[in-house]
């Protein structure tokens, strides 16, 4: 595969993790049982906004199986009632002054078993003084809106930030020249990543050594350790964060939640291990949601379909605390890539973030730091433009896609796309889908009054954050460490800072190393998710594992291979410069088949030969990889739907996806990642919605209300690929974890809107439930409150 490696390790269809998963022997956080372990349960606010008058825990404390009850006041005495968020705001661990969203944490009961802990919640008496709630983001900045964050000195309103990107002046100029301008308000609704395993922790404070060990669902174990150290005052070297198997994350498990902190404090107080596992309602009501972007898009074009410019205004609902988990200098994440895959002259966006009485979060659910919202916006706008011009949406896209010879491509908002061949991917998609036949079928169906829709989307992702000069999480530059040690027998252990939540890192990272060292994939073990045994790094999210940690793994393997060259030269009594690597061995140029394998060299490193300068008695190295740029995977998607005109029910008949994520290390795992994201797209476009009533009551606290796609709503996915290597990644990989989640919702919505075109429907917001579609068909206004002026 690579010029340097022996290549055999890529492309295999294996996964090391499966042996334990199919036996039910995965080790998830709730499977951790320690002697004397206690159980925590969280009391949560029933109201969206209320002043706390009093909290009486005496009856709970009197429960025979309750060990302690932690309140906000108790935490305040320890200086821990508030914790910092990844966006440099503060979030209440347990409420002291007010509750600011329904489901907010108020008190934490610790008992001998999980049932007793739950029982005791009922015994806590909290007196609330209700306050008016801010539920509609558009009302958050009204002059008479109640101020949610009166804990923040000087905060007089619910405004968080204004952020803009692009050149407003240039945009005004190209809009003035345009033949046609199309505008549309649209909402990317609040959704939730809902990994199948909820969040949880086991905290064990050893009173003698002063060491805190934490098992938790942490996508970013090192960042959690740093935050725990800052919060508790326990020195960082005495905190160990372990994430064993994680039952899905998708961004839901990046941040630190109040329950984690409470379990740690509870263990410090009781001197016993404390487990806290949230239930599904808690997960859906209080942990990191995603999106909630109210957008107004305007697109300008010539009448021949040449897109000139794009202007976007966003109102971003961040909930009660600004806890979005994105690089700190990017308050709107990577929304700035909203120009998508098109070569246009000018673009500008402005984003305003506001507080509302809802749970905090916003950056999660495989969103690549809000590339999801950006792609949805531009792909809807392009479809609306196609409608306006009465052009075929595929043709309109083909006309405006960035051309291969334009790479590296500098976008109108300042991003440098690394590589791509977009027309090739779109052409392949249309071919695979049989696009022209589909359009013919649709025309025939329309004649008969049947509603069939064909939806396209073309997306460019921005992942692999990122260069530490520009990108940091909570002050930590987004570079990743890797350590590699080769044992005397030639087997190896790789230690990485990122943390799999089902993506198969143990396999893929072993393949990367095996490929560089010419050893078997089985001869490399990967250690992750244990801060005592892995180098520092900011974790797995934003599709950064392969792009950053993967590059670190390759880099460290190449370092070790260079050490091996020096030792091999000593063994062969040759000049290192005269050695070549191939077929898993270092040999003297021209003498292929001779030389030494890594195992022989590793053995020699530990034996009695005179070691040359530059190596010591082992094969081992460490590195920190600082990526020079992001990587930009891309893809072209097509969705075919049938809509029942009487019920509004949408059936996804086909979904065809052509993805280009650069070089594929494990194609089986890559396909699996894509399948997941495509299902996400169906869920978000058609079913998923975290909704609230006018008082801020959460309406989606179970999987009966927050609907997720099952095997019946998902079609059999049809996948295709093109491969455009990233020029700056050591093996040309770009990352695939979130591409399909980013790209697919727009294809589904475009398909439904295409189906409804004969009904005169131009736009309807997600989720396109039967009720929403039916209303759209009836010509009823949908969410007219969303206009942003």
């Amino acid at each position: 595969m690579t010029a340097d490696g022996n290549g055999s390790a890529f492309g295999s269809r294996i996964r090391k993790e499966d042996a334990r998963f199919v036996r039910g022997l995965g080790k998830f956080v709730d499977d951790v049982v320690l002697p004397g372990m206690l159980h925590g349960a969280m009391l949560r606010s029933p109201m969206a906004h209320a002043r706390i008058v009093s909290v009486d825990v005496s009856a709970a404390l009197a429960h025979p199986r309750v060990k302690t009850v932690i309140t906000g006041e108790m935490l305040a005495e320890r200086g821990m009632a508030w914790m910092p968020t990844l966006s440099y705001d503060q979030q209440a661990v347990l409420a002291t002054d007010k509750v600011r969203f329904q489901g907010q944490e108020v008190a934490f009961v610790v008992a001998e078993d999980r049932y007793a802990a739950r029982d005791a919640l009922e015994l806590i008496d909290v007196e609330y003084e209700p306050l008016p709630a801010v539920v509609d983001a558009h009302q958050a900045l009204a002059p008479d809106a109640p101020v949610i964050r009166d804990d923040r000195p000087g905060q007089q309103d619910n405004h968080i930030f204004d952020w803009e990107s692009g050149d407003a002046q240039r945009v005004a100029e190209v809009f003035a020249e345009a033949d046609v301008v199309v505008e549309q308000d649209m909402l990317y609704p609040r959704v939730h990543p809902a990994p199948l395993e909820t969040c949880g922790i086991v905290a064990d404070m050893d009173p003698v050594s002063g060491r805190l060990t934490v098992w938790s669902t942490a996508q970013a174990p090192h960042a959690h350790r740093s935050l725990y150290a800052q919060l508790t005052g326990i020195p960082e070297h005495r905190i160990r964060v372990i994430a064993n198997d994680i039952g899905g994350g998708f961004g839901n498990k990046v941040g630190v939640y109040p329950g984690y902190v409470c379990a740690i404090v509870a263990s410090m107080i009781t001197q016993q291990p404390v487990k806290w596992i949230e239930d599904r309602a808690e997960n859906l009501m209080s942990t990191a949601f995603a999106r909630d972007y109210h957008m107004r898009g305007e697109i300008a074009a010539r009448s021949d379909g040449t897109i000139l410019g794009l202007r976007v205004r966003v109102l971003a609902d961040h909930g009660a605390f600004n806890a979005t988990a994105q690089p700190s200098r990017y308050p709107a994440g990577f929304f700035g890539v909203f120009t998508g895959s098109y070569d246009l002259q000018a673009a500008h966006c402005s984003v305003t973030g506001v507080y509302t009485n809802k749970a905090p979060g916003g950056v999660a659910y495989s969103c690549s730091f809000r590339v999801t919202e950006a792609v949805y916006l531009v792909e809807r706008m392009v479809d609306l433009l196609a409608c306006e011009l009465d052009m075929d949406p595929a043709e309109l896209r083909m006309r405006n896609l960035i051309r291969p010879e334009q790479f590296p491509y500098d976008t109108a908002t300042g991003w440098r796309y690394d590589s791509g061949d977009y027309p090739r991917a779109l052409a392949k998609l249309l071919d695979m889908a049989g696009y022209h036949d589909l359009r013919a079928e649709q025309a025939a169906k329309r004649e008969r009054g049947e509603l069939m829709g064909i939806g396209l989307s073309f997306f460019t992702e921005a992942v692999g954050a990122g260069p530490r000069k520009h990108l940091d999480m909570y002050g930590f530059g987004m570079a990743d460490g890797a350590e590699l040690r080769v044992h005397p027998s030639g087997t190896a252990v790789l230690r990485v800072s990122c943390m799999s939540q089902g993506q198969g890192h143990e396999t893929t990272f072993a393949q990367l190393v095996a490929n560089e060292l010419g050893i078997g994939v089985d001869e490399v073990d990967v250690v992750q998710g244990d801060t005592d045994h892995t180098p520092f790094g900011v974790g797995t999210y934003g599709s950064r594992s392969i792009a950053v940690s993967g590059a670190a793994a390759v880099t460290v393997a190449r370092k070790v291979r260079e050490q091996a060259r020096l030792i091999a030269a000593a063994m062969l009594e040759a000049d290192p410069e005269d050695l070549e690597w191939g077929d898993g061995r270092w040999y003297v140029r021209g003498v292929e088949g001779a030389g030494h394998t890594l195992a022989e060299i590793a053995r020699a490193a530990h034996a009695d030969i005179d070691l040359p300068d530059g190596v010591d008695g082992q094969l081992a190295a460490s590195t920190v990889y600082n990526p020079p740029n992001l990587t930009f995977p891309f893809g072209a998607y097509l969705c075919v739907v049938d809509v029942d005109p009487d019920t509004g029910q949408v059936t996804v008949r086909r979904f065809v996806a052509v993805d280009d994520c650069g070089v594929r290390i494990n194609p089986m795992i890559v396909d699996g990642q894509i399948h997941r994201g495509l299902a996400d797209g169906i869920g978000m476009a058609l079913m998923e919605h975290i909704a609230f009533d006018a008082d801020g009551n959460h309406l989606g606290g179970s999987f009966m209300d927050y609907l997720l796609p099952t095997a019946l709503e998902c079609p059999s996915w049809e996948l295709g690929e093109t491969v455009t290597p990233s020029p700056h990644h050591p093996v040309g990989a770009k990352g695939i974890g979130e591409a399909a989640t980013v790209g697919s919702p727009a294809a589904v919505v475009n398909a439904v809107m295409d189906a409804l075109r004969p009904c005169g429907v131009r736009h309807a917001d997600m989720p396109l439930t039967p009720a929403a579609v039916w209303r759209a068909i009836q010509g009823r206004a949908l969410r007219s409150d969303l206009a942003i002026r």
């Binding site: 709730d30 039952g247 089902g502 095997a711």
Partner: protein, 174 residues
């Protein structure tokens, strides 16, 4: 209260609180942590086990209701170190990603194949439609169950385990 439950062929006598759910009984009392909980409201199917030969969501069954009955969990699928064809097929087809839904999916798959050794894709999708997977988009789970059918149909021992549900076995230690 006292209950006697046969789990994976082995009899357990325990004193429990009447309200304890079967899922927690299996996990906390017997240490069989292969059965997972993803919702405890009967919506996700991570907790599917067999009760007297029928797949049930064990988060919605009281342990007391299993008194005198046979329970079968994912830990029983492999026999004498030999994987059940559904387990092998999930490996072959990448039917598991995070592994959290996997035990429940495997138990439903085994049950389906015992009744319908050659199920259509549609039948498979319907059989697992009460269970959520957040990782696979279901594609490879469906393929894995199809493959398991093929593996079983070509093997000498067809891997069927319908007989197990009602018989005493003692391979699994507590």
């Amino acid at each position: 209260m006292d209950i006697t439950v046969t789990v994976n062929g082995r009899q357990y006598r325990r004193t429990i609180e009447p309200r304890v759910l079967l899922a927690y009984f299996l996990r906390d009392e017997l240490g069989l942590t292969g059965t997972h909980l993803g919702c405890d409201t009967s919506n996700c199917g991570a907790c599917v086990v067999w009760l007297d030969g029928l797949p049930v969501k064990s988060c919605t069954v009281l342990a007391a209701m299993a008194d005198g009955k046979q329970v079968r969990t994912v830990e029983s699928l492999a026999r004498n170190g030999q994987l059940d064809p559904v387990q092998q097929a999930f490996i072959d087809c990448h039917g598991a990603q995070c592994g959290f839904c996997t035990p429940g999916m495997l138990m439903t798959a085994r049950w389906l194949l015992d009744r319908d050794p050659d199920p259509s894709e549609e039948r498979i999708r319907e059989a697992i439609s009460g269970q959520l997977c957040r990782c696979t988009g279901y594609e490879n789970i469906v393929r894995a169950i199809r493959r398991a059918a093929e593996l079983s149909n070509t093997a000498d021992d067809d891997g069927s385990s319908a007989a197990l549900a009602g018989e005493q076995r003692d391979e699994v230690a507590s």
